[in-house]
């Protein structure tokens, strides 16, 4: 990993800027979701309690690996997992994200929100050195104990179900490069979310299930990367089956 001191410092400044200003933009975003879009998280209190307990139960950093159906999954996820007060007390649990630069950096308002909201932009399929630089930043953050959200499917699932054909191995690489890394698989879905979309429909009620595990692989190198990514996807598939069994489909 060849992250320069200047880049590490820039991440620290971004983290502190996000933390200090969180009461302002956090209130804005949560109000937008609760009162304008009228979103609801089912069993919110229990979910936050569970996340807190899971966080306490492990020593190493956590990579959150959710399924991916909408452009604001990571926002809904951060809202679901802890209260504003918890984030103000310990902003390290507020998960960093790796949004596609082309999707979120086209105007200044989104740019500022992404910066304050702990985003490390990534150019998927772009220059490999630039992608590697973004991943190096993520590895640095994980080693510092920050929480990161990585969508193992790589993009919003075009089928509306876990995408088994196009999932990426990046998360496997992160797990193998960061000691004691834990993975929190999260299945998040709006009750009327049939397929992928920009943002969920107004009034959506979200189901959220999570499961923490520490991926192990008998392989090394690239094979371990693929193996770990496969284990995470397999877990998400089981969670999805459990969701559809619960809703009777």
């Amino acid at each position: 990993m060849d992250l320069k001191l200047r880049e590490k410092f820039a991440l620290k400044i971004q983290y502190l800027a996000g933390w200090v200003t969180f009461p302002i933009w956090g209130t804005f975003i949560i109000s937008f979701m609760r009162f304008i879009r009228r979103y609801k998280i089912q069993h919110l209190r229990e979910i936050r309690k569970q996340f807190k307990q899971l966080k306490k139960s492990v020593d190493g950093p956590i990579i959150i690996c959710p399924n991916h159906l909408t452009k604001i999954d990571s926002v809904i996820l951060n809202w679901s997992l802890a209260s504003m007060f918890s984030y103000m007390r310990s902003f390290k649990i507020f998960s960093w994200n790796l949004p596609e630069r082309a999707n979120f950096f086209q105007n200044y308002v989104l740019r500022i929100l992404c910066y304050l909201g702990s985003c490390v932009p990534i150019d998927r399929g772009g220059n490999r050195n630039a992608v590697k630089k973004s991943l190096d930043k993520v590895i640095h953050l994980l080693r510092k104990g920050h929480t990161i959200t990585v969508f193992p499917e790589g993009r919003r699932s075009r089928t509306g179900r876990i995408d088994l054909d196009n999932f990426t191995y990046g998360v496997g690489s992160l797990v193998s490069k960061v000691k004691d890394c834990n993975v929190l698989c999260v299945y998040l879905r709006g009750h009327n979310q049939e397929e992928y979309s920009g943002i969920p429909s107004r009034g959506a009620r979200f189901y959220l299930q999570m499961e923490l595990f520490k991926p192990q692989s008998e392989f090394s190198g690239l094979r371990a990367t693929r193996d770990v990514a496969g284990q995470i996807i397999d877990k998400l598939v089981l969670m999805e089956q459990s969701y559809f069994a619960a809703v009777g489909q």
């Binding site: 590697k132 999932f167 990426t168 191995y169 990046g170 190198g221 690239l222 094979r223 693929r226 990514a229």
Partner: protein
């Protein structure tokens, strides 16, 4: 194993992962695996692992990162066998 033999075996591997038919017919050493053949980075990992199995070699992560074109793959394999 000659350079041409390695090249042909690589083309066979790439055919399994790329759906860009026209480009496959005109593959050269300069063909970009990601851009020209529209293969994503995860499938590139699969391809490098196929290199390991078929040519009985071991490829380090750093070496795999350097594979961008068909020629990079050929040179990597020739250096390892």
């Amino acid at each position: 194993m000659t350079k041409d033999e390695v090249f042909n075996k690589i083309v066979d591997i790439l055919k399994r992962y790329s759906k860009v038919e026209i480009k496959l017919e005109n593959i050269s050493m300069d063909t970009s695996i990601l851009d020209d053949l529209k293969i994503n980075s995860a499938r590139l990992v699969d391809i490098v692992l196929d290199f390991e199995d078929i040519f009985d070699i071991e490829v380090a992560d750093e070496d795999a990162d350097r594979v961008a074109t068909v020629g990079d793959g050929v040179n990597l394999i020739l250096a390892k066998i």
